[in-house]
């Protein structure tokens, strides 16, 4: 929209009336900003006041927010975080690929794939329904009990495996929702051009399906990043476990806060990057006008 106030490309000059409207809208925006600023300041001040005036604040500050202790434990916790990041990267990669495959198999109507379809339904049902903590314990302590010599039994591997098992099930469901959100007319158009079922899925359905669910998939991956901290219960020395070790002896819990901050340092930029990416993806061509659909202005 061309804004009143400056001359438009076709030489149009806004009238007095248009200028007054623009000024009014500007004043409204300024007022909205002011309200937002004041509201934020009030909330922050109220929370700060409650915390600082709490009877235990002095001791809590020492036990949770000791700068010296934080600086001391930073290297150990950061090293633990490196393990979290590796688990996250591998688990995301495996989860995305396998989850996508399961989704394709589940939505496929090929008779040959029927047994696989049954299997994937059972798999998704089980691993979506069992708490991640339970999967971790069963995999972490159950699999080594089988004494399979070819199976790595490091806590990091088993923990990662448990996380992959659970998250793949959720990712598969997300991708399935994405596939089902593609309008049947798209399939009809692709088939009418002579594309096979496989070509239709790969060239037409999946690109749209992925775009439709990019945002929830990304938030699933952020969630995976922080849940990678759960492998600490199997004894793998990740950021959380490293922090726990550092707290033993002096009952100073600052290392936990350090670990929490480190997780935030990773996940907040990650979320922003993904948001920016999916916003930029948008719809191309004739449907571009639809972008932002559902946003009530």
């Amino acid at each position: 929209m061309s804004s009143a106030g400056d001359e438009a490309a076709d030489g149009w000059q806004p009238s007095e009336r248009a200028r007054a409207r623009t000024a009014f809208r500007r004043a409204q925006r300024r007022r909205a900003l002011l309200v937002a600023g004041v509201a934020t300041a009030l909330v922050v001040a109220a929370v700060g006041y409650v915390v600082v005036t709490a009877p235990g604040w002095e001791r809590a500050r020492e036990a949770f927010f000791s700068p010296e202790r934080a600086w001391e434990v930073l290297p150990q916790v950061a090293e633990g975080l490196w393990l979290n990041l590796r688990v996250w990267a591998v688990a995301s990669g495996v989860g995305l690929v396998v989850g996508m495959l399961i989704a394709v198999v589940r939505t496929s109507r090929l008779p040959v794939l029927f047994p696989l379809r049954l299997l994937s339904v059972a798999y998704v049902d089980v691993f979506r329904g069992v708490p991640l903590l339970l999967v971790l314990l069963l995999v972490g302590f159950g699999l080594p009990a089988l004494r399979l010599t070819w199976l790595p039994v490091s806590a990091a591997f088993l923990g990662g495996l448990a996380i992959v098992l659970t998250y793949t099930a959720f990712l598969a469901e997300l991708f399935r929702a994405g596939i089902e959100s593609v309008h049947p007319s798209q399939v009809a158009a692709a088939r009418s051009l002579g594309l096979t079922r496989g070509q239709t899925v790969r060239r037409v359905v999946l690109p749209q399906a992925v775009r439709n669910v990019a945002a929830p998939v990304a938030s699933m991956l952020v969630s995976l990043q922080k849940d990678s901290g759960l492998i600490s219960i199997l004894g793998a020395v990740d950021a959380i476990r490293a922090a726990q070790i550092a707290t033993t002896g002096d009952y100073n819990f600052t290392p936990y806060v350090v670990a929490g901050l480190l997780f935030l340092v990773i996940s907040i930029p990650l979320t922003r990057v993904v948001d920016a990416w999916s916003a930029r993806q948008g719809w191309r061509g004739q449907l571009r006008g639809v972008a932002g659909a559902g946003v009530v202005r």
Binding site: M1, S2, A8, W12, P14, A18, F24, R25
Partner: protein
């Protein structure tokens, strides 16, 4: 509802020098470039013009779905384009029927029709449903009131959308190419309905209408005034007989010739 003619005695709707553009710089697209238009209480004005001439934008501007760059949208003499006017209250006095019906797919036909009476106008459910059933009866859809929109034909959906628009007794009904998305054999039922609404009105008095359409036969029958829109301006205006049968300007003649 306000008294017919309004407090000022002015036309129900007046557009004065309305400008609306999209984009800036090289991508600037001036869709409406100083449009003047009056719709008298109880009359029907039909806007014609080639696609992209700004018919839909004109209707959306009147319904306050678009902000204008400049100019006035006077409803009963009050300039509703001013941003300090309560736009929701203005929209509640108007009603629009869209080219693609825009029914709410998650609601039954009856609930589509009762949504605004209940949520906007604060009517009780039973009362709203009685009123809705009366309007659905009028448009011939009483027997499918419990169906969902996707179970209806295009013509039925558009008639349901018309019922949804009429149930609040709007002061002005905006019809935006309401038959363009319909199969040819379904166009008739919708246009017949609109003609009969035009003739009888709904709740006393004829319904005031501002219509954008490609159906010249319909325009001829329903219009008190036909307005030919070209390049964002009113290029020619007059009775249907004047504009459609004896156009004075070259562009209008071109347009009508291409339709044949």
């Amino acid at each position: 509802m306000r008294a017919p003619g309004g407090v000022t005695g002015a036309p129900l709707l007046s557009l004065r020098g309305v400008r609306k553009s999209f984009g800036t710089g090289a991508a600037l697209n001036v869709v409406l470039d100083g449009v003047d238009l009056d719709v008298e209480q109880g009359s029907c004005v039909v806007v014609v013009g080639s696609s992209g001439s700004g018919k839909s934008t004109l209707l959306r501007v009147v319904d306050l779905l678009e902000d204008v760059d400049d100019g006035q949208v006077l409803l009963d003499g009050e300039d509703v384009a001013d941003p300090w006017v309560d736009a929701d209250a203005v929209r509640a006095r108007l009603a629009m029927v869209f080219q693609q019906y825009n029914l709410f797919p998650h609601l039954r036909v009856l609930d589509n029709v009762t949504l605004a009476p209940r949520v906007v106008h604060g009517r009780r459910r039973a009362e709203a449903e009685d009123a809705a059933m009366a309007v659905l009866e009028r448009v011939g859809l009483a027997d499918v009131a419990r169906a969902y929109p996707d179970q209806l034909s295009g013509g039925q959906q558009q008639r349901a959308a018309i019922a949804r628009a009429l149930v609040n007794g709007p002061e002005l009904l905006l019809l935006d190419e309401v038959t363009s998305a319909l199969d040819p054999e379904l166009v008739g039922e919708v246009l017949d309905l609109l003609l009969s609404l035009r003739a009888d009105g709904v709740a006393g008095g004829p319904t005031t209408m501002l219509v954008a359409t490609h159906e010249m036969g319909f325009a001829r029958e329903v219009a008190d005034e036909v307005v030919f829109l070209h390049a964002g301006r009113v290029h020619e205006r007059g009775t249907p007989g004047q504009v459609l049968d004896d156009p004075q300007r070259e562009r209008t003649r071109d347009f009508l010739r291409r339709l044949r």
